[in-house]
C-alpha cells in the first residue's frame, strides 16, 4: 500500500466528497476558523493545554482491555476501547474540549451546538461550563421529549436548550437551526459541530480531535499484543467515534468496519444506513452520502439509537467507502438490543445503544471471524445509562403486545 495522500485537500475535499456548501455570509467565518485551527495545530501550547484537560478532566487515556468472557463465548479475542469511561460517558467530549479551546483562542464568547440524543449537547455544555462560556443548544422537539434527562443535564450545566419544531423535529432540523443561528450571529458565535460532518474544516478538525482514540488504541494494542487487531469495529452516526479510531490505523493492515443503523430493516425504508445506500448528495455544508428521494429531498432517518438517527454521514467516510479502505455494514434495532443485553451480562458493561450496534456485528459475524482467527477491537463509544429508560420502555411495550 502506497502512502495515502493527505486528506482533505486545500478545498476541503476528500476525493469527490466534502467541500463548503454554506451561504456566502458564513464563508469568511470558515476561512477564519481554518486559519485559527491551522495556527492552533502547530502551536505546542495549544496541544499541551488540550492534552492536560483530556488527562485531568476527561480522564484519558481510556483503558483498552480484552473482554475475556465475550472472547470465550465467541471463540476469538475481542478487545474494547473504553470511550464509555470518559467524563460525560462518551467520546463526544474529546471533540468539544478541542473546539471550546479553539473558540476561546478566537475570542468567541457565544457557543452554539446541535444535538440529537443530547450527548453532544451535554458534552458541549460541559466544556462551556468549565470555561464559563454561555452555550445554546438546538435540539429537535421530538428529541427533547424522548431525551428529557439529557435536556435537564444541559440545563444543570448552565446551557439554554432551544426546542426546534421545523421539519421532522429531529437532529437534521436542529442542525439547520444551529446553522441559521450561526448565519445570524456569525461575528461573535462559535458553532461546535458534534461529528465529522459540516463544511470544511469541520470534518478534518473533528477527526483530528477524535483521533486521540485511535492514537491511544494503537499504542495500547501494540503493548498488549505486540501486533495489530485484524478488525476494528465502530458504530457510525455522523462518523466521529469511528473516524477517531480508524484514522490512526488507516495505513496499517487492519480491516476497518463501520456499523450503521439498519433500524427496522433496510428493506422497510425505516433505517439510518446512509453509506449502505451510498447515494451522493449535499446537506449541512458538505457533499457526502445522504438518505434522500429521487428529487433530492432529505428523507428522515430511523434508529432506536438516537445518536445514529441522522440522514447524512461525514465526507471522509464516504471517501473510505468509495476507495474501499473501510467496509460499512448495518445492524437492526433488534440485533442492537440483543447485544446491549449480551455485553451487560458477559462483561458487566452496559453499552450505549450506538456502541451496541458494533458489538452486535461482532456477535453476528462470529463464525466468519472465528474461522479467520480474528482479533477484534471494538470502539465502545459510550455507556448505556442514558438508554436504560428507553430500553426498559421499549421492552415492556413489546412485551405488552405479545399474545398471551
Amino acid at each position: 500500500m502506497g502512502k495515502m495522500k493527505l486528506m482533505p485537500d486545500a478545498h476541503g475535499r476528500f476525493g469527490p466528497f466534502g467541500g463548503q456548501y454554506v451561504p456566502e455570509t458564513l464563508m469568511p467565518a470558515l476561512d477564519e476558523l481554518s486559519a485559527a485551527y491551522h495556527q492552533a495545530k502547530t502551536d505546542k501550547s495549544f496541544h499541551e493545554e488540550w492534552m492536560a484537560l483530556l488527562k485531568d478532566y476527561v480522564g484519558r487515556p481510556t483503558p483498552l482491555r480484552q473482554a475475556f468472557r465475550m472472547s470465550e463465548k465467541l471463540g476469538f479475542p475481542v478487545y474494547l476501547k473504553r470511550e464509555d469511561l470518559n467524563h460525560t460517558g462518551a467520546h463526544k467530549i474529546n471533540n468539544t474540549m478541542g473546539q471550546i479551546l479553539l473558540a476561546r483562542r478566537m475570542g468567541k464568547t457565544r457557543i452554539i451546538a446541535e444535538t440529537g440524543a443530547g450527548q453532544h449537547g451535554v458534552a458541549t455544555a460541559t466544556a462551556a461550563a468549565l470555561f464559563g462560556l454561555k452555550a445554546e443548544i438546538y435540539m429537535g422537539a421530538e428529541d427533547v421529549e424522548r431525551q428529557a434527562l439529557n435536556v435537564y443535564r444541559m440545563r444543570l450545566l448552565g446551557a439554554e436548550v432551544h426546542s426546534v419544531h421545523s421539519g421532522t423535529s429531529t437532529l437534521k432540523d436542529a442542525t439547520n437551526e444551529a446553522i441559521r443561528d450561526w448565519v445570524t450571529n456569525v461575528r461573535d458565535t462559535f458553532y461546535v459541530i458534534g461529528s465529522v460532518v459540516g463544511p470544511h474544516p469541520y470534518p478534518m478538525m473533528v477527526r483530528d480531535f477524535q483521533s486521540i482514540i485511535g492514537i491511544e488504541a494503537r499504542r495500547q494494542f501494540r503493548q498488549l499484543t505486540s501486533g495489530f487487531p485484524t478488525h476494528i469495529v465502530a458504530p457510525v452516526g455522523g462518523g466521529s467515534n469511528s473516524m477517531g479510531i480508524f484514522y490512526p490505523f488507516r495505513q496499517d493492515p487492519v480491516a476497518l468496519i463501520g456499523v450503521e443503523a439498519a433500524g427496522e430493516g433496510i428493506e422497510t425504508g425505516r433505517h439510518a444506513a446512509t453509506i449502505t445506500m451510498a447515494e451522493r448528495g449535499i446537506l449541512h455544508g458538505s457533499l457526502s452520502y445522504l438518505l434522500q428521494d429521487a428529487d433530492g429531498q432529505i428523507q428522515p432517518a430511523h434508529s432506536i439509537s438516537a445518536g445514529l438517527d441522522y440522514p447524512g454521514v461525514g465526507p471522509e467516510h464516504a471517501y473510505f467507502h468509495h476507495t474501499g479502505r473501510a467496509q460499512y455494514v448495518s445492524i437492526t434495532d433488534q440485533e442492537a438490543l440483543d447485544a446491549f443485553h449480551r455485553l451487560a451480562e458477559w462483561e458487566g458493561i452496559i453499552p450505549a445503544l450506538e456502541s451496541a450496534h458494533a458489538i452486535a456485528w461482532v456477535i453476528k459475524e462470529q463464525k466468519v471471524l472465528e474461522s479467520a482467527n480474528a482479533r477484534v477491537l471494538v470502539n465502545l463509544s459510550g455507556r448505556g445509562d442514558k438508554d436504560v429508560d428507553a430500553v426498559l420502555g421499549y421492552e415492556e411495550g413489546n412485551h405488552g403486545q405479545e399474545p398471551h
Binding site: E24, M27, D173
Partner: protein, 260 residues
C-alpha cells in the same frame, strides 16, 4: 429566454430612474396550480423579475415563513419535474429565476438542472448554499446555456470575494443583514456602505434581499440598490388569504412598486 433578459430588465428600470422590483413565491404554495396565475399577477402588479422557489426539505437559509411555505408545498406532494412543467407553460415577459438549494440541483445533475431550467424559460438560478468557491467552475457552462448563476454578497464578504464575483453574471444578490430570510422592521444602517463597497468591485446590478417587507423599506432600499427583493412578507400575505393568492399578490406588489 436568455440571460440578456436579466440585463435588459435592469437597464429598463435604470432608464425609468427606479430600482427593479423582484418578488418571490414558493412553487406549490398555496398550490402548484396557483403558480402560473401568481406569476401573471406579480407581473400585472409591476414585478420586473420574479423568483420562483423550488421547495427543499431543509431550507437552512430561510426563516420561519419561507420554511413553512416549503413544508406545506412538499406536504402537498410537489415534485421538481412538475414545477419545471408548469413553469414551461407560463407566458410572461418578465425574466424568471429559480431559487432553491444545491442538493436538488446536484441530485438532478448540475448540467441537467441548468439545461432543464433554461428549457423551462428560466434566466437565472439563485442557490444560497452554493457559494462562489463551489459554483464558480460551473459559471461559464451555465452562461453558455443562457442561465446566470447569481452570485451572492453579504455584510461579511471579503474584498477578494467581491473581486471574484465581478466575473459573475446576472446581478449580485446582496444579503442585507447577517441572517436568514424573514420580515424585518427597519433597513440596516450598514446596507448603504455595503452596496457602495460592492459597487467598487463589481459592475453588475446589485439587488438587495432578506427582510424587506413594507413599501417604505422598499423605497429606502431602492434608493441604495438597483433591485429590491421581497419574499417572506409577500408569502406571509398569501398565508393570510391563500384562497385569493393571485389578487393578494398583485395588490401587495403594486403597493411596493408604487413606492419605488
Amino acid at each position: 429566454m436568455d440571460k440578456s433578459r436579466i440585463k435588459d430588465a435592469f437597464q429598463k428600470t435604470r432608464q425609468e430612474g427606479r430600482a427593479a422590483l423582484i418578488p418571490y413565491v414558493t412553487a406549490g404554495y398555496p398550490t402548484l396550480g396557483m403558480l402560473a396565475p401568481l406569476v401573471r399577477a406579480l407581473e400585472a402588479g409591476g414585478a420586473d423579475l420574479i423568483e420562483i422557489g423550488i421547495p427543499f426539505s431543509d431550507p437552512l437559509a430561510d426563516g420561519p415563513i419561507l420554511q413553512e411555505a416549503a413544508t406545506r408545498a412538499l406536504a402537498g406532494g410537489v415534485r421538481v419535474q412538475q414545477i419545471l412543467d408548469v413553469v414551461s407553460g407560463i407566458e410572461t415577459s418578465v425574466p424568471l429565476l429559480f431559487l432553491t438549494y444545491v442538493n436538488l440541483v446536484y441530485r438532478r445533475g448540475i448540467e441537467q438542472f441548468i439545461r432543464d431550467s433554461h428549457e423551462a424559460g428560466i434566466s437565472g438560478l439563485i442557490i444560497p448554499d452554493w457559494p462562489w468557491v463551489e459554483s464558480a467552475q460551473h459559471q461559464a457552462w451555465a452562461h453558455d446555456h443562457d442561465v446566470a448563476l447569481i452570485p451572492f454578497a453579504a455584510p461579511t464578504s471579503t474584498d477578494p470575494h467581491l473581486d471574484a464575483i465581478a466575473h459573475g453574471h446576472g446581478f449580485v444578490y446582496t444579503v442585507s443583514v447577517t441572517g436568514v430570510t424573514g420580515a424585518r422592521t427597519t433597513v440596516d444602517k450598514g446596507l448603504a456602505p455595503l452596496v457602495t463597497r460592492i459597487k467598487e468591485h463589481v459592475s453588475l446590478p446589485v439587488a438587495v434581499g432578506f427582510g424587506i417587507s413594507t413599501p417604505e423599506q422598499a423605497r429606502e432600499t431602492g434608493r441604495i440598490a438597483d433591485g429590491v427583493i421581497v419574499g417572506s412578507a409577500l408569502v406571509k400575505a398569501l398565508m393570510e388569504d391563500p384562497d385569493h393568492a393571485p389578487a393578494v399578490a398583485e395588490r401587495f406588489v403594486k403597493g411596493l412598486r408604487d413606492a419605488l
